[in-house]
Symmetry: C2
Subunit: 220 residues, 2 copies
């Protein structure tokens, strides 16, 4: 790690520390760049420069920006990939009826991820960082908006929706989803914390469905 | 402050430091006791003993435990009092129709409180403490359950509801409410963060109404 950090200050020297050293140097640089410039502002090119390696090597090790962010923040999954996979599986299972059950699928998919300790603590780590630093909050906002909510908008967007409305619907979903995670895993409010997945699917799924495709009142 | 702390170690001597010194000593003791024993475990009697004053004096200065907690945590309002007042005003305004609009009233009332900087930062401070320490999370859970959710259960409880169901409904409301505050004020997700109060009342009110009085599925 120290070797890698030293290496990262000499452009082109990163590889000498071995592959794992280079990987660490890239993740260190990514954390610094995401922290300093936010999710939108940081670039693969800038992170590569900060790590003293070729951008192609960053792509080779980590793929696109979201994957690199997930690795740098030690997220055990790439959120929008998991979301896409869960939605594809539910679409397969439900057929034409899928569009009326996206909310339930979301709750079921989320709880399926969160019940495992690693993704849960990664989620809680992001919440913690956002609440303790404005810079982290901005980074998380850009990340959530640019990846998770963008994916959600693609999955659930009604044909006639404009961009602003889609973003508004997706952000309403985010309020309920974040609050569910916080109340269940941080506050551990009872009996919410001990309710079964299917209870919560039945209770919260329709609320998400309405946010995504329902009538949200006269003014929006 | 230092004088008050010294005084607090000599039972009965608190008043010598003057009223503001005694008040500070009580709040210091309250923070220590709530932190060590949680909201449920701490008592006015124990806090008085820790501050070296008579329990009657604590009651005289701060009233009941919830008020003392609000003062110790620097909350600018006593949550369940504000909640009761907002609900009473809406009940007055809407008459018999109130029961169908509790969700909307809740969103309107909450945003009315949160749009002011002081209550908002107090709310965010509680969220921050809960996310950084398990002990604080337990304290906040007990406080939310014992005061805010208990009040909500009284206001919105259907005649035939049992205790567990009422608690479940109230905790579902908590998920949406906490997530709304987090997404709007911490993450500042757009366009949620810039949506008007009435937009959010129309969008989120019905979700809360369903949690309080609607059909939550076959299994609950």
């Amino acid at each position: 790690m120290t070797e890698a950090r030293k290496a990262s200050r000499r452009p082109g020297a990163g590889r000498r520390a071995g592959e794992s050293g280079t990987r660490e140097a890239i993740l260190d640089a990514a954390r610094r760049e995401f922290g300093a410039r936010g999710y939108d502002g940081a670039t693969i090119r800038g992170i590569a420069a900060a790590a003293g390696v070729n951008p192609a090597l960053v792509h080779h090790f980590y793929g696109a920006k979201e994957q690199l962010f997930a690795a740098a923040m030690r997220l055990p999954v790439v959120p929008s990939q998991v979301l896409s996979a869960v939605m594809a599986a539910e679409r397969e299972r439900l057929g034409d009826d899928f569009v009326n059950h996206i909310g339930e699928a979301l709750v079921r998919g989320l709880l399926g991820i969160w019940e495992a300790p690693e993704p849960r603590s990664a989620f809680l780590g992001l919440i913690r960082s956002a609440v303790t630093s404005e810079r982290s909050a901005a980074m998380l906002r850009e990340f959530v908006t640019g990846t998770i909510l963008a994916t959600l908008m693609q999955v659930a967007r009604p044909a006639d929706a404009d961009d602003r409305t889609s973003r508004y619907r997706a952000s309403l979903v985010a309020t309920q989803v974040i609050g569910l995670g916080f109340a269940r895993y941080v506050l551990q409010l009872k009996p919410l914390a001990t309710a079964s997945t299917e209870d919560l699917v039945a209770a919260i799924g329709p609320a998400l469905q309405r946010y995504l495709t329902g009538d949200l009142g006269p003014t929006t």
